[in-house]
């Protein structure tokens, strides 16, 4: 397997070098744009992994955030998550802030692809629900407001 890969790489590499050195002398794309890289510059929000230090939990709750968070919930989350304990497509949100740490919740909201790849708890949920949680394009600040709404839903003051 590895052997094959290396041979293939060698062939391709040699091919590329030779192709570039040949070609009749007209090479206007001296500095080739890396198209693969270019694609990453696009305006779809995929959060970078959040750290414990990125999140501050304070009491009392920020009432404005709770309202904001509720609006985001209704637009982007409600289709799959109830505010009770009932599972719909995903788990119900009642007591989610007691089951999960804020960091986990925030990463799940902003960075679901990473979580499904690396986090055992997230993977267990995928096995349970059988639908990958969609990336709903939440910025870190949005996710923080949703978390505030979850805390309020769990009875925090």
């Amino acid at each position: 397997m590895k052997l094959k890969t290396m041979i293939a790489e060698t062939l391709i590499l040699t091919g590329v070098i030779l192709f570039m050195s040949c070609g009749g002398g007209v090479d206007k794309n001296a500095k080739q744009v890396d198209l693969q890289e270019l694609q990453k510059n696009q305006p779809e929000t995929h959060g970078t992994e959040l750290k414990e230090s990125d999140i501050q939990i304070t009491n009392p709750l920020n009432a404005e955030w709770v309202t904001f968070g509720k609006n985001i919930y209704e637009l982007k989350c409600q289709s799959c998550h109830r505010l009770t304990e009932d599972k719909l497509v995903g788990p119900g949100w009642k007591n989610v802030t007691k089951r999960r740490k804020p960091l986990w919740i925030m990463n799940m909201a902003t960075n679901v692809d990473m979580m499904l790849e690396t986090d055992p708890e997230a993977q267990k949920l995928l096995e349970l629900c059988m639908v990958r949680m969609p990336n709903q394009n939440l910025a870190k600040e949005d996710a923080r407001k949703v978390l505030e709404f979850m805390r309020s839903n769990d009875g925090e003051k």
């Binding site: 030779l18 206007k28 744009v33 209704e74 799959c80 497509v89 969609p134 394009n137």
Partner: protein, 666 residues
């Protein structure tokens, strides 16, 4: 094992070096396909092509998008024809895009492509296409690869010499292939009064710098010749537009014979800066006409169509020094300006030479009034006075010319099925290659601009014959890719295309993909029928209309059980895709609908109208595989008799109390 690996490597290296030596042996006798062709068109799995190629879909009415050098088809953009796959022309939001002064027209014939430019260089913002049959020009937004605008052209028939763009996208143009009685005259005239009653026009359609929105700035009234292709001046010739035309005989029947009597037809030179001044100075006449102007509002995600009533017509009689004819042998098709803007290449389909005109000489001839006479009142410049030179015996049936960045021109030859490379200055033929078969247009990346990117040439062929596995009487259309980076052109790939490709343009991928939109932000969705969240999902009755405001997300609709629809009702499903992830559209279909599906992009709302034809229960489902539970993304809608008292109700995930009755089968 290890030594085996080493041997392998050695062999591999030797082999590729050998190939290299072979392929680099230059200027030898040329075979149809060179040995390293495969590596030149190979784009490894997961890797991107270097260029986008926007290809006219001909009589499919659409525009297709290929990768170069792989020749892979990425997308067919619906433009002038309905597309049930995407719901284009079927959804309530998109129907208005195909509105015309003749009503809803579901088809057209898209011939030519023009990519927007800034300073004569492709800028990757928009691509334009012409509708040949019911004269129109469409603008496609390259952020979304969707048709954003369509404008109809009045006083026109056979909008062939279109949309050819000026170097700062000031204008796209439209010239009449068919001359006709003008729209505001009595068109009910004997056809053999052609010479008295029929006119051609060329139209200049302004393009807004920011929005891209089009407006017909002015039209020019011209004799009843047939305008064929066009090209804008650039650099020193910026401000001029050149239109080829045939049928200077002004025949109205059996054109094959009657329009090919004269040895020379014309290229029309339009000083559009001058025309602009005349239009501003009120030298034109406002004519009463009727044409549709359709715009897709990206925020409302909805097209609207307005009928416009006026157009400014400039008559050369009132506007001196605006237009000139330049004789050109014989029945010219292409008239292409080289990257410097100095040379204009005419390609007479029936000519034995390729004439190359000099812009400097044209200016001098105009200044000296070096005319050989006039044609219907328009000065005709002396051929010898404006000619840079002729390419002698280039081939049979020259059609169209593109340029590279090294001073070479590439002309297609329909009759002799070949591409001929020649030096624009010295007019010397330096190379020729066969095409398979009967080539029409050519495309070099950036070829029509001041800055060709070169590297590849694509030939779009009219006859495919034996190139692919046969598929009955109708065969795939065919394009061929040539490597033009060396002295000799090398055929490296055949690839099939949709419809019949006419013109195409290619552009470096990097200029487009950085702006390519991944989703519609749901927060910015201004569709008045959107349900922005399940809280707003509902069913409403308005007289005989039922409006279903529905949401879709992996993998269910809300609501998915709907009752209370009655016979005679018109049902509108307004489906909002709540997803915000790239490449997760949802589809929507309902059994028996005399309509297409909806295909709803993330964050978008689209509407399907459905008139039930009899009482019963109708399933609905998502047509675009969205998750492991896609198959479960389904629901029901119940239709009752006209007089029934079943109330409107709707739900998702609610199970009604068990019901024991079954349907009666008496």
């Amino acid at each position: 094992m290890k030594s085996l690996f080493k041997t392998f490597l050695l062999v591999a290296l030797t082999a590729s070096t050998f190939t290299w030596l072979q392929s680099c042996k230059p200027k030898g006798a040329q075979s149809a396909v060179s040995g390293d062709a495969a590596s030149k068109v190979y784009v490894a799995p997961g890797k991107y092509d270097e260029f986008y190629n926007f290809v006219s879909g001909g009589f499919s009415g659409q525009m297709s998008v290929y990768g170069i050098p792989s020749g892979r088809l990425f997308r067919v953009i619906p433009v002038f024809s309905v597309d049930p796959e995407k719901g284009y022309g079927y959804s309530e939001e998109t129907k208005a895009m195909l509105n015309t002064s003749h009503g809803f027209v579901p088809w057209d014939d898209l011939h030519h492509i023009a990519l927007s430019e800034t300073d004569g260089i492709q800028d990757g913002r928009w691509v334009f296409g012409n509708g040949n049959n019911t004269p129109r020009i469409a603008r496609i937004d390259l952020k979304t690869f969707r048709t954003a605008e369509i404008i109809e052209i009045p006083n026109s028939a056979g909008n062939h010499s279109s949309p050819f763009i000026t170097e700062n996208s000031e204008y796209v143009v439209a010239g009449t292939r068919f001359s006709i009685p003008m729209d505001n005259s009595n068109g009910d005239v004997p056809i053999n009064t052609y010479k008295q009653n029929f006119h051609g026009t060329v139209s200049f359609i302004g393009v807004d710098k920011t929005s891209g929105n089009m407006n017909i700035a002015f039209q020019i009234l011209l004799p009843g010749v047939n305008f064929d292709l066009a090209r804008a001046g650039k650099g020193k010739s910026h401000g001029w537009m050149f239109f080829s035309c045939y049928n200077s005989e002004r025949a109205n029947t059996l054109l094959e014979v009657n329009s090919t009597q004269k040895d020379k037809d014309f290229i029309l030179c339009v000083n559009w800066k001058k025309a602009e001044e005349y239009a501003k100075a009120g030298k034109g006449k406002l004519q009463s006409v009727k044409y549709a102007h359709n715009i897709y509002d990206e925020q409302k995600q909805m097209a609207s169509s307005a009928i416009e009533n006026q157009v400014m017509m400039l008559d050369p009689k009132d506007c001196p020094d605006m237009v000139y004819f330049m004789p050109c042998p014989k029945s010219p098709h292409g008239c292409d300006t080289d990257p410097t803007g100095e040379y204009i290449v005419g390609s007479g389909k029936l000519a034995a030479v390729i004439p190359v005109f000099s812009f400097t000489k044209i200016q001098a001839a105009i200044a000296a009034k070096n005319y050989e006479g006039d044609y219907e009142g328009i000065p005709v410049l002396k051929y010898d006075a404006v000619l840079h030179g002729e390419v002698k015996k280039p081939g049979l049936g020259p059609l169209h010319t593109e340029f590279d960045d090294n001073g070479f021109a590439y002309t297609s030859f329909f009759v002799s099925s070949e591409v001929v490379k020649w030096n624009v200055k010295s007019l010397e033929v330096v190379d020729r290659v066969p095409t398979y078969y009967s080539v029409g247009h050519l495309s070099v990346p950036g070829g029509p601009t001041r800055k060709p990117w070169g590297k590849y040439l694509i030939a779009y062929n009219k006859i495919t014959k034996d190139r692919y596995l046969p598929t009955g009487p109708e065969l795939a259309q065919s394009a061929q890719l040539y490597d033009i980076s060396g002295d000799k052109m090398k055929l490296i790939l055949d690839f099939p295309t949709i419809g019949e490709p006419h013109y195409a343009e290619a552009i470096p991928a990097s200029l487009i993909m950085k702006n390519s939109q991944k989703i519609y932000k749901i927060e910015e969705n201004k569709n008045p029928y959107a349900a922005l969240g399940d809280k707003f999902a509902r069913v409403e009755r308005k007289g005989n209309e039922i409006h279903v405001y529905m949401t879709a997300i992996r993998s269910h609709f809300t609501p998915d059980n709907i009752e209370g629809v009655k016979m005679g009702d018109m049902v509108y499903f307004h489906v909002t895709n709540l997803e915000q992830d790239w490449d997760v559209p949802h589809g929507f279909a309902v059994k028996g609908a005399n309509n297409a599906e909806l295909l709803i992009m993330p964050g978008e709302t689209q509407t399907l109208a459905w008139k039930p034809e009899k009482p019963g229960v109708y399933p609905i489902y998502c047509t675009d595989f969205c998750s492991a539970l896609h198959q479960e993304m389904q629901g029901y809608i119940r239709v009752s008799a006209a007089g029934s008292n079943v109330p409107i109700s709707f739900s998702t995930g609610k199970t009604a109390p068990a019901v024991t009755t079954t349907t009666d089968k008496k």
